[in-house]
């Protein structure tokens, strides 16, 4: 007893020390007025501005253009030879929800059970996650923290309805400061027809007849339908003010904005059959759908375009699904989707690989996607897809000043981010990796 309480006390002390040390410097500086001058500014809302000025005040972009007067109180950053872009938006991550994948104590991305519409990412995002400064040093200024949609992790799979994804800035002392939108999408992992499963008790693969797998699939789809129907009734009751006659149901309450068409479903599916079924389901039910994954989106591109379903594409740095797919199947898909008029964005679907987002977008360009489309697919398009383009995504007056100043193409591997602004505040690029690098660079030569 005594020992355990001592250990607990030491643990608390350690936690307190961790919380105090090193974190403060990584956070934003107090709000101020900034002027970026002589920069090449890629607003993504028109053509690039040469030798332009961008003015930041009270967290917003106050002005952008040529010959803008710089107020006396502004901190001036001469960005001659540098380029300014909107911050990069990684629209599927488990940022703040998962620190070390293999250690379940650090994993909060996946709740137990199959239907958890009421759980919200923002409730568990740790503002002190080491992933946040590492990620923003790559020019990523905001992300969607997605629960239960990252697939299998050390807590298991994400179930069917995984919870609500939150859009967050990658800077802030608390989650309240970080929040862009608490509930930006509802995660739905569309079921699959699985004819093969893995049995952990015997450690072997189990075959299942198709008919049986199909039955299970249908059962799950029926369950989803049932949830939607019940949510619809519940929402109706809420509307008529008669919800009081029901027992309050937090899960159905959470689904109400979905059935009202206010909150999009972020539907994870990769195979064309599942994508098609999901699109038809959402269409029939009148639900707004955003497809996530979409490895075979090219097979149903006409359907996706005609139903205006945007896609958050799985990283291109992934092997093709099938052995007889072309080796560049995933790499060339974005160009094909763009040509077909399907709207899409890139995302890392991860934390530690979030900084590969630009690399993914550039790879799509290497395989035929126009460069501007690739750049917008990690800035403006994800903002638009999640209905945040009124706030972020371009460099326009009145928008939140989430932006990066680089020494080159932000998608290229060797480009450095020179300055980073989040919510209009100049934000440090210090991070765990840089600190370790500096520390061990200074190690005296071993004897």
């Amino acid at each position: 007893m005594k020992t355990s309480s001592i250990i607990r006390r030491i643990g608390l002390m350690l936690a307190a020390v961790c919380a105090l040390s090193g974190r403060a410097c990584a956070q934003s500086q107090p709000s101020a007025t900034y002027a970026l001058t002589h920069a090449k500014i890629f607003t993504l809302a028109g053509s690039a501005i040469e030798d332009g000025t961008l003015l930041i005040r009270d967290g917003k972009i106050a002005a952008v253009g040529v010959g803008i007067e710089v107020p006396a109180e502004a901190q001036v950053i001469d960005a001659k030879g540098l380029q300014v872009y909107p911050g990069i938006f990684d629209s599927i991550t488990q940022m703040g929800l998962r620190e070390i994948g293999a250690v379940s104590a650090t994993v909060d991305s996946t709740e137990t059970g199959n239907y958890n519409p009421d759980v919200v990412a923002a409730a568990a995002v740790s503002p002190s996650s080491e992933h946040i400064p590492v990620t923003r040093a790559a020019g990523i200024t905001e992300v969607l923290a997605v629960p239960g949609g990252g697939g299998f992790d050390s807590n298991g799979s994400g179930g069917v309805i995984g919870g609500q994804a939150s859009a967050i800035h990658l800077a802030g002392w608390t989650i309240d400061e970080m929040l862009i939108k608490k509930s930006a999408a509802m995660v739905l992992n569309w079921p699959e027809i699985e004819t093969h499963t893995f049995d952990l008790t015997t450690f072997s693969r189990k075959e299942k007849p198709f008919s049986e797998a199909k039955q299970e699939y249908d059962k799950q789809v029926n369950e989803i339908t049932d949830w939607v129907e019940r949510a619809r009734h519940y929402a109706l009751a809420m509307e008529k003010g008669s919800a009081a006659r029901y027992d309050r149901d937090l899960k159905l309450e959470a689904l109400a904005p979905v059935v009202r068409g206010e909150l999009p479903l972020l539907v994870f599916a990769d195979r064309s059959r599942e994508i098609r079924n999901a699109v038809e389901f959402c269409d029939k039910q009148g639900l707004r759908m955003i497809l996530a994954g979409g490895s075979e989106a090219y097979k149903v591109k006409d359907l996706l375009r005609s139903k205006s379903v945007p896609v958050i594409l799985r990283p291109l740095l992934t092997l093709p699904l099938d052995e007889d797919d072309s080796y560049d199947r995933l790499l060339s898909q974005p160009a094909e989707l763009a040509a077909a008029g399907v709207k899409f964005a890139f995302a890392s679907f991860d934390n530690s690989f979030a900084r590969r987002l630009g690399q993914n977008a550039a790879n799509a360009v290497a395989y035929g996607l126009p460069y501007d489309e690739a750049l917008k697919a990690v800035t403006l398009y994800p903002a638009r897809i999640f209905g945040l383009d009124g706030q972020i995504g371009t460099l326009e007056q009145g928008k939140i000043a989430n932006l990066i100043v680089t020494n080159g193409d932000p998608l290229e591997l060797t480009t450095d981010v020179m300055y980073l602004f989040i919510r209009g505040q100049r934000t440090s690029m210090d991070n765990r990796h840089l600190r370790l690098y500096e520390k061990y660079s200074k190690r005296p030569k071993a004897q």
């Binding site: 070390i100 994948g101 299998f152 007849p209 198709f210 097979k299 080796y327 790879n363 370790l436």
Partner: protein, 509 residues
């Protein structure tokens, strides 16, 4: 798991058609042109190329003459011999073929995970020349790979270096003359930290202390075994009659080879302390560690690595997928290089191997290596680490004509491989691959239509049960075995792709 995806892949909705899709799988990789590499012209001239020699700078608009699979001449301008096949590489970049110092492609299985010392098993015996990942990596400019056993054991299986000669039988894959290796593993994987098999007791070792003792104990035995053969040899030489030779021990033989410098040790590791531990054990028993693999905390003990003369083969920027990867930093390669360690950047993953050129480029951003230093990370340095730098790794006269041709500077995210040559043969050609794509699709459709027709005639074939045995047949790749041991570092996590994959024993990282 993959097979069900494959079935679903074709979106055919019914079992028997899905089954056909599966059958196609067995067929198509072989029908691809790459399966039958064209007999190369004996003489090839690549000209007008930017040649990244790695050993002696960059030659603008230069030429490379290839004769009988070897580089015969490298210079500014070479006149095409009469019978030469000419590759005009105007605007393109030629670099030495990429060498992946840590790969698990072309293997039927990865881990013999039942015991803590599995030195008796050998990757050379389970090569699968039809693994499609060979072709995919070839399309990423990779020409040679170090095929390693997994990291489930303190001392794992025997390993070998292959060339990615897609379309050739297994016997043609090994890199001739390359010294064989053996996989060691330290830390979380051999101590089985991140998973367990329900119903099975814990296996020794389960601490880093036990990992050290497992290795020491195995080498103690190996020394005794070595001595028993040496004694036998001596007595035989002395003319003793009626001697009985010692009983062969297939587990200890490879360890004796390690002691005698005939087999390289490639050791998986993460933490600084375990790196130094193995160096101490190696010193105690008088063997060399050839490379540390992953070695994500190598930057903390870079001087010790340099002093020991051991190579370090690491990832570009992976981190945080487990505790021992929490101090991993993308500056690792550059920091170790600056302290005099020979460093390579590897894949450990069939997908990662398709863009090792890009991964190498990151060492310029993180730590400021030069263009040439970055290129060496995936060419000359892994060649040195594998002891094959007399044959490959640079573009020099006399070396094997193993080359990758890109449309841009390969240290860019915009570069795409146009051709990959091994031994002077074009094993991958992007134009040819693209041109044959529609043919492959046509052929696949024809097969599916044919099957549809025959299925309509014989409705009894539609019975699901009838298909089960056939479904099991084309298990060409069993991801369950291949991506085994612990979770992938969730590089590309995704519900449908990996979600059903449980945490399996085996593996990597």
């Amino acid at each position: 798991m993959r097979i069900s995806k494959v079935l679903n892949a074709h979106g055919l909705g019914t079992l028997f058609l899905g089954l056909l899709g599966v059958l196609c799988l067995g067929y198509f990789p072989r029908s691809a042109s790459a399966a039958n590499p064209p007999d190369a012209a004996a003489v090839i001239l690549i000209r007008n190329a930017t040649i990244l020699t790695v050993s002696h700078g960059t030659i603008e608009r230069g030429s490379i003459l290839i004769k009988d699979g070897k580089i015969a001449e490298v210079s500014q301008s070479i006149n095409a011999p009469k019978d030469a096949q000419v590759i005009d590489a105007a605007g393109q970049f030629v670099m030495p073929g990429i060498i992946d110092c840590h790969s698990h492609i072309a293997a039927e299985s990865i881990n013999e995970g039942s015991v803590s010392v599995s030195s008796m098993v050998n990757m050379a015996e389970i090569l699968n020349p039809e693994d499609i990942d060979i072709y995919r990596d070839l399309a990423g400019g990779v020409t040679a790979a170090n095929i390693l056993h997994g990291s489930a054991n303190a001392i794992g299986g025997q390993t070998l270096v292959i060339k990615l000669r897609w379309g050739q039988p297994a016997a043609k894959l090994p890199f001739e003359g390359a010294l064989p290796g053996i996989k060691f593993a330290l830390g979380e994987n051999p101590k089985r930290s991140n998973f367990s098999i329900p119903g099975q007791p814990r296996r020794y070792p389960s601490t880093r202390m036990g990992v050290e003792e497992t290795i020491r104990s195995a080498f103690s035995e190996a020394r005794d075994y070595q001595k028993s053969w040496q004694d036998y040899g001596k007595r035989l030489a002395a003319g003793e009659k009626n001697l009985i030779p010692p009983r062969r021990d297939l587990r200890l033989e490879p360890l004796v080879e390690v002691l005698e410098g005939k087999r390289y040790v490639h050791s998986h590791c993460y933490r600084e302390d375990e790196i130094l531990m193995l160096l101490r054990v190696a010193k105690e028993f008088g063997f060399k560690v050839r490379t540390f693999q992953h070695v994500l905390e190598g930057y903390k003990v870079a001087d010790e690595l340099a002093t020991a003369g051991v190579g370090a083969s690491t990832f570009s920027d992976w981190w945080a997928y487990k505790v021992e990867a929490y101090d991993a930093i993308p500056y690792n390669a550059a920091l170790m290089t600056r302290r005099g360690v020979v460093v390579s950047i590897n894949s450990d993953d069939a997908e990662e191997a398709t863009h090792l050129n890009q991964e190498a480029a990151k060492s310029m951003k993180f730590g400021g290596l030069s263009h040439d230093e970055a290129l060496k990370m995936v060419t000359l340095n892994p060649a040195v680490q594998l002891g094959i730098d007399n044959r490959v790794g640079t573009i020099d006269v006399g070396k094997d004509a193993d080359l990758a041709i890109y449309n841009h500077d390969p240290l860019s995210a915009y570069a795409v491989v146009q051709k990959t040559l091994i031994d002077g043969r074009v094993y991958f050609d992007r134009q040819r691959d693209t041109a044959e794509h529609s043919e492959r699709e046509k052929e696949k459709k024809a097969l599916i239509d044919k099957f549809k027709k025959s299925a309509e005639k014989k409705p009894e074939d539609k019975k699901p049960d009838a298909t089960v045995p056939i479904l099991q047949k084309p298990a060409e790749k069993k991801p369950g075995e291949k991506k085994p041991e612990e979770k992938k570092p969730e590089k590309n996590p995704g519900p449908p792709l990996e979600s059903a994959a449980p945490v399996l024993p085996g593996g990597e990282r």
